[in-house]
Amino acid sequence: MNGFAGADLSGTVATWFAAIATIAVWSYLVGSRRLFVLMQHLLAGLATGYLVLLAIRDVLVPRLAAPLVEHPRDHALLLPALVLVGMLVGGSWLPRRAVAPVGAILVGGIAAFALGGAVVGTILPQIAAALPAGSAAAPELAGGVISLAITSLVLIAFLHGAPRGTMTTRAATLGRWLLVGGIGGWLGFLVVSRLSLLVDRIAFLLGDWLTVLR
């Protein structure tokens, strides 16, 4: 019913295996640790194997080895990149002075992408969208003011170590509670997602495996 396994023999085997694995994981609930650990190891092994295969088949061969072998002149930049990767891999044997710049380039690149994207793609457009237009209706204006107030209170809650008066302390406490409320609300969303997963697993066992649910 979830459509991932076909009606042929391999599909039937896959369905049975998935059902047994699900029950084996749930056996932890009644204290059967061995089966659970076995399933954990199986998952770790399968995930590692899958990642290795993916890295070789979809990344290393088609995007590194093949271009370097077939058209080395068109992909000259891959050579220094390869050297950098080699230095990272051999980091534990190479002198720290040689490895540190490579690590710095890696971390700096990732940070630049993330930070640049966050500023240009999220902060600025969201501030622009949150600013009430000249012809904004009263509810929109009120919403903007409330958003600004909540944001300010939450930011004040982060002012650890700064000198505080009575008002600031109260505002920080309120901000902290708003933050806790926000996290609680988000956890509620997460519960719905996880509950859907559990309901889906039960539907899989009853529908795909035992075929009592249609």
Binding site: L29, Y50, W186, V199, L213, R214
Partner: protein, 290 residues
């Protein structure tokens, strides 16, 4: 004497362990019964009565030009994909019915596994062609940015790949991107990295409920054209698309098991709060004797 105490302790430990498992086992049993009864109850409906989000996505697909190129960015998470599986399949059906030429790509290993499974499912069903496979792109956000210029594997052959190459070979060649979110590379990454570089590209997203608070501001600001990010909206969309497709979308969670699960979750919260109150009440000193 030691021989007698050992087994008793073990049995006691096991009994305690089983006692601890009782609430969870009851939850499972409750969900099993609710799943079995779900089909026979007409009064409950999971689909959202508010169709505005559904209409937004349907309108975005309807407004696509004939033979539009649509990229499905499949970066769902294995732990939340069941929630959006039916919605994703409905969107693929909707796009195929509109005559869009589909291609699928992933920027996370998990997303790649799901994309491969979905392509295999569509091929097995045989009702429509599976989306052209653009494979897995490594490098997370850097890979996403690189894909703006070049996305098609060099050895890829086919009409859809040729059309993408004619349009420049990167993400800019597409008329729309359907972002199936759930993992680290979510619709937020697309908005931040691609939306700021290709502002005219239409981006629609399907996401599990826990991403709703993160993604909703992008819909309000217009950075996302459409967004389905709750289970109820997803079910409403899957029902709206239902016509015309024979391929299996897989079951959507039944309303009764979801209701039972939520009630149990609330009961657990209430029980925890009540227990804490009782404990606090015991700790507080009683009235001083006069």
């Amino acid at each position: 004497m030691t021989n007698n105490v050992g087994p008793t302790l073990l049995t006691g430990e096991r009994a305690a362990r089983l006692r601890r498992a009782v609430p969870t086992l009851l939850l499972l049993l409750g969900l099993v019964v609710a799943s079995l009864l779900s089909g026979g109850i007409d009064g409950l409906r999971l689909a959202s009565p508010d169709r505005s989000r559904v209409d937004q996505l349907r309108a975005a697909i309807r407004d696509l030009p004939d033979g539009a190129l649509v990229l499905i960015a499949c970066d769902a998470d294995l732990g939340t994909y069941p929630e959006i599986r039916a919605t994703t399949r409905a969107a693929i059906d909707d796009l195929a019915a509109r005559g869009a030429r589909l291609a699928i790509v992933s920027f996370t290993p998990e997303g790649r596994a799901i994309a491969a499974a979905e392509r295999a499912r569509i091929a097995r069903a045989g009702t429509e062609d599976p989306p052209a496979d653009l494979g897995f792109v490594a490098g997370a956000e850097a890979g996403l940015v690189r894909s703006i210029a070049s996305l098609v594997p060099e050895d890829a052959e086919g009409a859809t790949f040729d059309a993408i190459r004619e349009g420049g070979g990167g993400i800019g060649a597409f008329d729309m991107v359907l972002i199936v979110s759930g993992s680290d590379i979510s619709a937020r990454s697309w908005v931040e990295q691609v939306g700021s570089r290709l502002p005219d590209l239409s981006m629609v997203a399907i996401a599990p409920t826990f991403l709703d608070p993160e993604l909703e501001p992008y819909l309000r600001s217009g950075q996302l054209t459409a967004l389905l990010s709750t289970l109820r909206e997803g079910v409403a969309y899957a029902q709206a698309v239902a016509a015309g497709s024979t391929s299996s979308r897989g079951p959507t969670p039944g309303p009764l098991p979801m209701l039972v699960g939520m009630l149990i979750a609330l009961a657990v919260l209430a029980e925890g709060a009540f227990r804490r109150l009782v404990r606090r009440g015991r700790r507080s000193p009683g009235p001083s004797p006069s």
